[in-house]
Symmetry: C2
Subunit: 320 residues, 2 copies
């Protein structure tokens, strides 16, 4: 049972100052086979890294965008243009816009690093809140990667699994492979292996059958944007799990920092859903590739942020 | 809108007599990139072709096994041993055992060819019954491949789609890619392309979201084994679709020949579920790979065989 804290926050994303400033990322497209760093010399290069998923996960792209704006300031670039470029990289995650808002008044390396540290600290706090929802011997299912990679360190849903494991409450984790880009089998399995947490990857479509067999006690996921009423946009397939969990009377918990909550969007209908290139699914036949879906608040048992466990009605509990 | 009937039954599987008799298969593992034939000189080689999915689909492996027994007889091999070898190739599909039963008394090429022709004729009849369930403008979802490849010709669920298309009732088809082996994106999309039916492949986990958006009117699948009470074993993910369809008030229809109905198994609990090699999902991390799941009869809107449309309670309608 190894438990090395493999992913230091600055390994996931950092700003290097000096003569040629740059944002340096662990290239998540090449994990788990290779641990390769990608250097972005401009906000535009960083926006492309976000678009192509070299860095992904709502909180992590917020952190990366903050470093990107600080990079543009160090270079003396047009900050309004840098902000526009970064904001256009991906539409669904609200953390991106949240981080750019925070950086606008003081686009400095120190501000970006503080924002990064705060994000990791939020993860640790929400993980502690979420772990309290685990009964001893819990067998969890998670989807996509809401781990340290996705958040700049520690993780939201995976953070909850890590804390529950450290407290002796977690028996094992099933990991949806998460087609089409396999964030579950490539990234979450890699993080769980490094944390020494027993796990097995499954085809996304096997979750229902394993729920029916009584092998799953709870589902934990991250979020890309949470509307004011609790409707939650997350990786495509999360809504599917929410319906299946409800049918099997299993709770689905969303674990996400307050930077993911968008009180300006009243409900899920207002959340833009990114449609990605169909060739991510198949290059040979026509395909459709919605990258996210929206889970109605009614299917979410609790939303856990660093402030605590929010229960329905979310329109009240998220504001409070 | 091409409509060439590309897949002649004897292209999918046939018995060649002569000095060196053999069963010749279209190798489905190499589709859609290559159309390559695989020659099996013994029942054991054919059993390996079934195990490794060179030929797959419950009715098609029944047909292949029938040819395999005829091959063993032509060669003068031990027929009881040939039957045991073939029966051990895959556990879930009942058509395999059904076909071997039919061949036992008269293991001749003529008998095997008659069984093959009957199976294709059943497909055409059940497709006609199933097409009557389509309203004009229907937008269907299907899972895995219940096409000509899976049945030895024409197809069960895909046969229903073909007939509905010919009758002008079908607008388009969404095809689950069907992880881990991608029978949907490799085989069903290929068959639909050849039939000129508009289609798009989706990640399996996207089906729920597209149901919620109102883009799916009905779900049609095949079956590997149907118990006497209507519980239906089919490719992993079918049960997931059944729960999701019920939540969205969309009917799920199972289209399968009577050779798939196993009146000797009272319910789904008695159907063996094949667990395949985890490396089909990921070679790098632990994985679990159940190949089938069981959909409770209560989630199936109708079971369509060549005899007609069977409605609940299936314990009565399947026997009748």
């Amino acid at each position: 049972m190894t438990n090395r804290t493999h992913l230091d926050p600055e390994q996931i994303v950092r700003l290097e100052e000096g003569d040629v400033p740059r944002v340096v990322l662990l290239d998540q497209r090449r994990l788990p086979d290779e641990e390769v760093e990608l250097e972005c010399g401009t906000a535009a290069e960083l926006a492309e890294a976000i678009r192509s998923l070299a860095v992904r996960g709502a909180p992590a792209i917020g952190v990366a965008a903050a470093y990107g704006l600080a990079l543009a300031a160090l270079r003396g670039d047009d900050l309004a243009e840098a902000e526009r470029t970064l904001a256009a990289s991906r539409p669904t995650a609200v953390n991106l816009f949240w981080a750019l808002d925070r950086m606008r008044e003081e686009p400095t390396p120190a501000r970006a690093r503080a924002l990064h540290e705060e994000e990791v600290e939020r993860c640790r706090r929400m993980a502690a809140h979420a772990a309290a929802l685990f009964a001893p011997g819990s067998r969890a299912l998670t989807h996509c990667n809401a781990g340290g990679l996705a958040t700049g360190g520690y993780g939201s849903a995976v953070g909850a699994l890590r804390t529950a494991w450290e407290r002796g409450l977690l028996e094992r984790v099933l990991v949806d492979e998460t087609r089409p880009l396999l964030q579950g089998s490539r990234l979450t399995a890699w993080e769980l292996e490094q944390a020494g947490i027993p796990h097995a990857v499954i085809a996304d479509s096997a979750a229902a059958s394993l729920m029916a067999r009584g092998e799953i006690d709870l589902v934990v996921t991250g979020a890309d944007r949470i509307a004011a009423n609790g409707d939650t946009a997350n990786k495509i397939g999360t809504y599917s799990l929410a319906v299946l969990a409800r049918h099997h009377e299993i709770p689905l918990y969303v674990v996400a920092p307050t930077s993911t909550v968008d009180l300006g969007t009243p409900d899920g209908a207002g959340i833009p859903i990114e449609e990605r290139d169909p060739t991510e699914i198949t290059a040979r036949f026509p395909a459709r590739n919605p990258a996210f879906d929206v889970t109605p608040a009614a299917l979410v048992a609790a939303i856990v942020t660093e402030r605590g466990v929010h229960r329905p009605p979310y329109a009240e509990s998220l504001v409070a």
